[in-house]
Subunit: 286 residues, 4 copies
């Protein structure tokens, strides 16, 4: 990711779009390492992600410069778009409660380089996971919820702004976010829900999955919106279960679904591989 | 299946149950080819399926004789139970509308011996699939629905009784069965629903799956009950979908899920591998 | 497929390629419905598939005309390429022996429109499946192998040439093709092998899978080459198996893997979605 | 696991076996919480695992006492068998090199209670992972290999004997074990190989998978034997890959396969859920 510049855009579809955009990059001598495009024929909308070898761009043309040059075309196309220098990773903040399986997985992948981001903070409503975070040299903030949600979320928002959070990951954070926060960070809050949505929205999905007698359990990584478990889905994972699996077994098996789905979703988001289209996502997977 | 006798039962759990039951079989010299048991610790209930080599039972001891001998023990255990001679396959009737993918799959598996049943009739509310059925030497009944559902379902019920149907398979039959029929054939009507229930109950599940932007579609094979898509689940199958899959692609991909889930569910049921426990099923798969 | 024109190409990678190619299409007013491209950074090779709305091309510009116009650019790029009018489907011939599960699946998908091809002939070394083929109004050729392989394959080759076969599908055809035939139809013979290659190359893979005690069985759809089971892989499918599955169960379960993998591979090939790169394939799936 | 006693056995099959064994347990008043049995009809061999509520056994009847009582029957049946008190977990030693993904996953699951064992030592031929181990309060032994394999494995063997290792887990340990050690710990050394065996035995399986162009990669958890990657398979996991996945992507994606397959295999082994039958395993999964 360090040596690439990523152009991401979506706009109304029309003839010659890809030619215009790739022609623009070619005109700068830019070498395309990876190109994804998708024309949604139902809504007549165009989506693209272009990964450009930064070294092939004119010397001294950082992402901000490329953006400047691209703006007129983007305006003409009425595009939603962004240009990002892969060498400047996003700043990710993780929110957790007491369950540690998603956190430890994210920390390991982050340390291993699978997840390309800076990690200025982990925030929790409980102190339990402090050691696990600090031993990775990551700042841990304990924000107790005993004086009310409003104050606590005010505190969380302050931390997010202080550390310059670009992305917020809810790694089994057991509190429902206030709508204002969801809106302020729209499209930048990633949640993991422990069911294959839209089945079992809300609390205790494994218990309800057990009672319904499903033969597959799952986990869903999605953008958080003001409406609970209703945001655009980025990734889902499922696992087969049998009659002999008690609710506690579903919890155990489900942890692996959760970890895999969340890790993939976060990775895709951080690499600008997810484009939003109403309640749907376009995911150019890697 | 031809050479085995199957004892299936469930009852309140208690110490020594499996010993009592296997002791009973051993006392007759019966050779157990396959034994499954499951103790549900949450509800304290016991489930078992025993497959006995018919040839090892005393000569002239057909299933009905074995049942007679087993009855006192079964009564003592307060068991729900059945004994069946595998050489006497069940009589299965398939209900279809116009979509043929599940029907043709079942017909092929039936002809190939994957599904062990007699097939005295296929019933449809449309005439379209007559040829496909008759060329397999299976009787086809066209029951039009233009004079009202009540009359049509009366006709269907007559056919089911006439041909001695043990099992009714709804192979994408696009009509909702009346509650009386569901009750009369309780635990013997197998439906395929084209979503991973409990998501997308009811009509147009693929369209709604598309609109919700799920990353996995599925199919659910379940027993039909009076409440729509709410019966005990026997089997589920899922398939990954991507943003570039239009609703018509979901239909196409989903057909494979439907065929697999339905075929497995029907196979398990016909081999007495499914035990009911409220809304849950115990499935001793093969 | 009927209303689209498909341009498929691969060539040495270089800066500005996609711009050149899409610029060419845009210059003709062509509307791109679907674009896939892949730059293999390891071999520095470029692959693309462009699906163009035929109606957007200048009136009277059939595939052959588009090809004529594209040739100079293709020559400059040193590309392997093809242009095909989706309204002119390929001619597919299926070779079978006695096992019918892949054949019946292909026939159903072909009739249902999942597989877009003409089907001028099915050829078998046994007469058993004649009825199954003829009832679909497809010509069936029985080519006995009792007078030697050479004569039989000579006969098969004649039929392939007579009916103008573009694609040959080996749907569990239990004879090894002679190297000359593999070369004559290179990249156009699709085989299904009943293992997850490269495990269990050759005969009796299910028996050997059983003996090795694997926990997953599979099937591999690949292009046939002169070396047995060694050609480029198009698609693979696997299924979990347990200790209680005897070899006959693996056969049964494997049939579903084989049908799915073969059907997908054939579909991708017929839609020009498979590009060859040495022993590897680039598959732009749908 | 703490409150259960586990009886595991296999022996030649014969009529009345399960009755004899469950009768023995019932005679002691033992409450069976979980029973698995499997009759292998091909080899005429019987396998069983019985989980007994320890509290239901006569007071003061520990596993060793139960074993004493069971011995005469076991001798008569010519059984391989064991009785184990779940309250006395096995002693597991993990061997690693530099790759940490399997180790960190096992450590987390062990800490979380998914893997029930004592963990007296982690041994490595490199010092890199010392901190990761010690921070979990587990002893770390660095055994360098620079003075030759023989001496190093002598040292490893000493540690295994010193700490009383019951089970040895090779968590991507990049050294081939000497045959003597494999024999000494036969059926107790669990390895993870990064391919779906028997494909890609030996070194660099991901690179070779890439070159062969497979569409699925996998990992195999198996017992180590003197012959490389040839021991009985306990568990396998696979993941779909695409043409755009470079060898480095296969490494990344494969790590998740490896972690899942190894964790499950280790869990099953530690809970006496794996029975050996030549090169095959019977796995009574949970």
């Amino acid at each position: 990711m360090e040596k690439v510049t990523i152009l991401k855009l979506d706009c109304p579809d029309r003839v010659g779009l890809l030619s215009r955009i790739t022609g623009f990059i070619a005109g700068l001598g830019g070498n395309l390492l990876e190109v994804h495009q998708f024309s949604d024929l139902l809504s007549n909308w165009f989506f693209a992600r272009l990964e450009i070898d930064t070294a092939s761009l004119p010397i001294g043309l950082p992402a901000v410069g490329l953006a400047e040059k691209f703006r007129p075309l983007a305006d003409e196309l009425k595009a939603n778009w962004s240009v990002r220098n892969g060498a400047e990773p996003r700043r990710m903040v993780i929110l957790v409660s007491k369950l540690d399986h998603c956190l430890i997985d994210l920390l390991w992948r982050w340390r291993a380089g699978e997840i390309a981001a800076e990690l200025p903070a982990v925030i929790s409503n409980h102190p339990d996971l402090r050691l696990m975070v600090q031993r990775e040299d990551v700042a841990f903030f304990h924000v107790p919820f005993d004086r009310g949600k409003q104050e606590a979320f005010g505190r969380i928002r302050s931390i997010l702004l202080d550390v310059g959070a670009d992305v917020v990951v809810l790694a089994r954070f057991m509190q429902i976010l206030p709508p204002e926060l969801c809106e302020e960070f729209e499209g930048r809050i990633i949640n993991i829900h422990h069911s294959f949505l839209p089945a079992f929205i809300g609390a205790n999905p494994y218990r309800r999955a057990y009672e319904r007698g499903v033969k597959l359990i799952g986990a869903t990584c999605h953008y958080a919106t003001a409406e609970l478990d209703d945001g655009p889905i980025i990734e889902q994972e499922v696992m087969r279960v049998e009659h002999y699996h008690a609710p506690s077994d579903l919890l155990r098996l489900g942890r692996d679904c959760e970890r895999l789905a969340l890790a993939r979703g976060v990775r895709y988001h951080l690499a600008d591989r997810v484009l939003l289209h109403g309640r749907r996502t376009i995911v150019f997977r890697d």
